[in-house]
């Protein structure tokens, strides 16, 4: 689909503060008045993933500036909306972070996009006059970084839905996710997209983990075409955009165009930044006293296992010292664990493909006297009974099965916490309690789903 040339203007701004960079983006694109008409009703899609601090969510300072400039341009109604990625209701996040109390005095309100959210979001964006996306860019294990197109639908890592088809070759999890993410853009494309990469979380992300590191790039990217904006963002971050599944998917669906992009503002080549991306190989995530073995892993299991291993690394230092040794087996046909104790089988593939593995059974030998020999020895006291060595086969009880493809992260943490108990895993137990505090509603949902 050919786009009008003006749609492919992508602005790159570099400034000494995030707000200066935002103002520079607006200046380059033609001020807010170009995007907002008098009495427009505006919907702004932001990142509000978890009740955690920056940069997990979009910067509130940036949101406030955007609201002010929309109001100044004459907008009558401004609504903000998001999905949480850890299955927490937006209402709960708002109760904690008091977002409405911050934005309401400025003339905006946060919508609670909860159950049946996709159709609700579709209604909102089809009925609003202008649709903006303000996206915080961080590293992401599946799509390299959190692009603006990932902002359109819910990626719930805590209560992830199982993939409808199970075929490692097909990698349906990623394909389903791409399709889900792009479905809204097929109906309506945003009128303004801002990718905020002024501060980017690198190393481990998009949530704050032990290996997370924040770097200041001083850059912001804006435009009116989501594919073009994400394309330029990936280029700035030193990635080949044409290898990104979201960009490929968007081009296939004619959502945007990557040809004839007109870059305005600072030079792209000289502004490129070096970023440490998420570990693509799960074995490379070094968790103390934990051996990670992977077989053929689908993107769904990789995605959730990535978060699980980072949670272990961040919060389970003491627990893993008490536990002394654990093995996490992920994917189809993983290698045998180093030890037969504390083996965590992550996902249906790992459980099924290791059913006949030797670590599943424990062999113990015991000396026993046959009954006939015992009777003989009673009558013939001089004769000693013949002892025979008997091998007993038992299922290994120190194996924890975590079902699902991909497994539900919330249930996984609960299962692991229950398996080790409060005494052996005090840190994980506290972390689980913390999750329960803000995700209690989503837990009920997860229990119904039954993993």
């Amino acid at each position: 689909m050919s786009q009008p040339e003006t749609d492919l203007n992508v602005a790159i701004a570099k400034a000494d503060t995030p707000l200066h960079a935002y103002n520079e983006i607006l200046t380059l694109l033609g001020e807010m008045e170009k995007f907002v008409s008098i009495n427009d009703r505006i919907f702004v899609k932001i990142n509000l993933n978890t009740p955690e601090g920056f940069p997990v969510n979009t910067s509130f300072a940036l949101i406030k500036s955007l609201i002010k400039s929309c109001k100044k341009a004459g907008a009558s109604e401004i609504s903000l909306g998001s999905y949480s990625s850890k299955g927490v209701k937006i209402r709960n996040i708002d109760q904690l972070l008091k977002i409405n109390e911050i934005v309401m005095p400025l003339g905006a309100q946060l919508l609670y996009l909860e159950e049946d959210s996709e159709s609700e979001l579709l209604d909102i964006i089809q009925n609003c006059d202008k649709f903006f996306v303000v996206n915080q860019v961080n590293v992401d294990p599946l799509f390299d970084c959190t692009l603006s197109m990932m902002n359109s639908a819910e990626i719930n890592i805590l209560n992830s839905q199982e993939s409808t088809e199970h075929d490692l070759e097909g990698d349906f999890y990623k394909k389903e996710m791409v399709s889900k993410l792009l479905s809204i853009y097929k109906k309506r494309k945003p009128d303004l997209i801002i990718n905020d990469l002024y501060h980017v979380m690198e190393g481990a992300g998009p949530y704050i983990y032990k290996d997370s590191n924040l770097i200041e790039t001083q850059l912001m990217v804006g435009g009116t075409d989501p594919v073009a904006v994400d394309f330029v963002t990936l280029k700035l971050m030193g990635k080949n955009p044409l290898e990104n599944p979201l960009i490929i998917g968007a081009c296939e669906r004619n959502i945007g165009n990557t040809d004839n992009i007109n870059i305005i503002g600072v030079d792209l080549e000289s502004s490129k930044v070096n970023i440490n991306y998420c570990e693509k190989i799960l074995e490379d995530i070094t968790v103390h006293n934990c051996s990670i073995k992977t077989g053929s892993t689908c993107s769904g299991c990789y995605h959730i296992a990535y978060h699980l291993l980072n949670i272990m690394k961040t919060y389970m230092t003491k627990d893993l010292k008490y536990i002394t040794r654990q093995s996490v087996l992920i994917g189809e046909n993983p290698p045998e664990p180093d030890l037969n104790k504390n083996v965590i089988l992550f996902g249906n593939c790992a459980i099924k493909s290791t059913e006949n593995s030797s670590f599943r059974t424990i062999y113990t030998s015991k000396e026993s006297i046959p009954l006939s020999d015992k009777i003989k020895s009673i009558f013939n006291k001089g004769k000693k009974p013949n002892k025979k060595l008997k091998t007993i086969e038992k299922p290994n009880k120190q194996v924890l099965n975590i079902p699902g493809c991909p497994p539900n992260l919330n249930s996984t943490i609960k299962l692991i916490s229950n398996y080790y108990g409060k005494q052996q895993g005090p840190n994980l137990y506290l972390y689980y309690n913390l999750m329960e505090t803000y995700a209690s509603t989503s837990n009920k949902k997860a229990k119904k789903g039954g993993v």
Partner: protein, 499 residues
């Protein structure tokens, strides 16, 4: 040029130092001097020994120093006075050689920008003239000397608290405005300069006064020991005044119980001086803002020191919490409170990771110190974090809202206009801080699990501690009862077994 009160004392120190080497038993010389810039009297030989120990660690470990006093104005040769000290032991000043007026020249342009080049030039000039190879220079601007003189003039008139406040202000002015330059620059000076720039407009003296107001009345002693030195610092706070007395080595028995009884003290703490010096030296080596990994390491070391009761530090009376019988009884009801097994290796990492995920890697936090009794806010401090490191501390000017309103939500929305977006506001009452300082620092020997529980209960009341907006960790803290919170946290704070 130098204040007489200071100069007389300094000359006395130099005279004593020069006698030490030729005297068979210098420890028997009963001479007293003042610690420079303070009114505190000290045994001259003890000061000698302390300088010998501390100076090479914190300032410079090589011999021979040149002191240069510079004019504040850009004149052709800015040098007003210059002295050379030939020191046989680093830091032990014996004799000052006054250099002729034009022995060293420093021009306003270039020289102070290239301090290394200047040092080499001065070194060559002094070798040529006096045959002494200096290894460090101390440059004092005239303004610094004026400030030092004013401070010394007032020493006799000031109370102890006023003296400490004055000294802290003097240090802040001299280092913050680069009125004192040392080359090679010691870590201590760099650390102080970075600390001053981090804390912006906050005066060190106001921090001291705040802490002093928050502390209860006390009478303690800290006994410092090494293989060669042993002395005791007696610190006392009465209702309005503090005093510090350095007790001579022979009068400071190593037996803490006797020391306590002899001086009628509340408690006595014994510390290994070398451990204290090494710990401080490690802190001064840090670059400010201190990075997360370094902060974890420092906290680990601090907690390790805290858990090493009876090995790295001693106290009399022994803190009740270390009483085996009390601990055993508490263990019977399911609480393991063994501070010797404090999880020093795990706690800093766990707490900092939890802090980062709850507060964010970049954040602005406003801390309000309230006084519920007077229904007002005493202090407002803004902390700024970048990538998890504290990068700026600033005092917030009180507005009408801050002064007369205790509603945290209104303060948050009011200050947004002037301070930009604030991520969190912490409202802490001074009574809670006083309680923590009294129970856990000054009366630690008397702290019992019941008192710990009482303090925990206090923190759960919004009258004493409130956070706006909330965070998952704070919600969990508020939602659990004090007992279940203890059950949840103690296994994290205390190790199950020694590693």
């Amino acid at each position: 040029m130098i204040n007489r009160y200071f100069k007389d004392n300094w000359n006395k120190i130099l005279k004593f130092n020069s006698k030490v080497e030729i005297n068979e038993n210098p420890e028997l010389l009963e001479e007293f001097v003042r610690i420079p810039l303070t009114p505190i009297q000290i045994d001259a030989f003890l000061l000698y020994r302390l300088t010998e120990l501390i100076y090479p660690k914190f300032i410079h470990d090589q011999q021979n120093i040149a002191d240069i006093i510079l004019s504040d104005y850009s004149i052709d040769n800015m040098v007003l006075e210059s002295y050379v000290y030939e020191t046989k032991i680093a830091g032990i000043h014996e004799k000052a050689i006054h250099l002729p007026k034009n022995a060293i020249s420093i021009t306003p342009k270039n020289d102070l920008d290239n301090i290394e080049g200047l040092f080499i030039r001065i070194q060559d000039a002094i070798i040529k003239e006096n045959g002494i190879k200096i290894m460090s220079i101390r440059i004092f601007k005239k303004r610094a000397i004026d400030l030092l003189n004013t401070h010394c003039e007032n020493l006799k008139k000031l109370s102890f608290n006023e003296f400490v406040s004055n000294l802290l202000d003097l240090v802040q002015k001299c280092i913050g405005n680069e009125l004192i330059i040392l080359y090679p620059e010691p870590d201590l000076l760099r650390f102080m300069r970075e600390l001053i720039s981090l804390s912006q407009d906050i005066k060190f003296s106001s921090i001291y006064n705040l802490l002093n107001n928050l502390s209860p009345t006390y009478k303690h002693a800290i006994s410092f020991n090494t293989k060669t030195i042993s002395f005791t610092c007696q610190i006392e706070k009465e209702v309005h005044e503090n005093t510090v007395e350095v007790i001579r080595p022979e009068q400071s028995p190593r037996d803490l119980e006797k020391l306590r009884e002899a001086n009628n003290l509340e408690s006595v703490i014994s510390l290994d001086l070398n451990t204290v010096i090494n710990s401080l030296s490690e802190i001064f080596e840090q670059k400010i803002p201190i990075k997360m990994d370094q902060m974890k390491l420092l906290l680990q070391k601090f907690l390790f020191g805290l858990r090493s009761f009876d090995t790295h530090w001693k106290m009399y009376p022994r803190p009740k919490i270390y009483n085996v019988l009390i601990r055993y009884l508490i263990r019977l009801i399911g609480f393991n409170v063994n501070l010797r097994k404090l999880s020093h290796w795990n706690l800093p990492e766990f707490i900092l990771n939890l802090f980062n995920s709850n507060i964010g890697l970049n954040s602005k936090i406003l801390i309000l110190l309230t006084n519920n009794r007077n229904k007002n806010i005493q202090n407002a401090i803004l902390l700024q974090f970048l990538n998890g490191s504290l990068v700026k501390i600033s005092a917030v000017n009180k507005t009408n809202v801050i002064d007369n309103n205790l509603d945290i939500k209104e303060i948050h929305s009011d200050l947004v206009e002037t301070l930009g977006h604030i991520d969190f506001v912490f409202k802490v009452d001074v009574d809670l801080i006083k309680e923590i300082i009294e129970k856990f620092i000054f009366k630690i020997y008397n702290v019992s699990p019941l008192k710990q529980y009482k303090v925990l209960k206090m923190t759960k009341k919004s009258k004493y501690l409130e956070v706006y907006p909330s965070s998952p960790a704070y919600e969990l803290f508020k939602s659990k009862s004090s007992l279940s919170l203890l059950k949840l946290l103690l296994p994290i704070f205390i190790d199950k077994h020694e590693f």
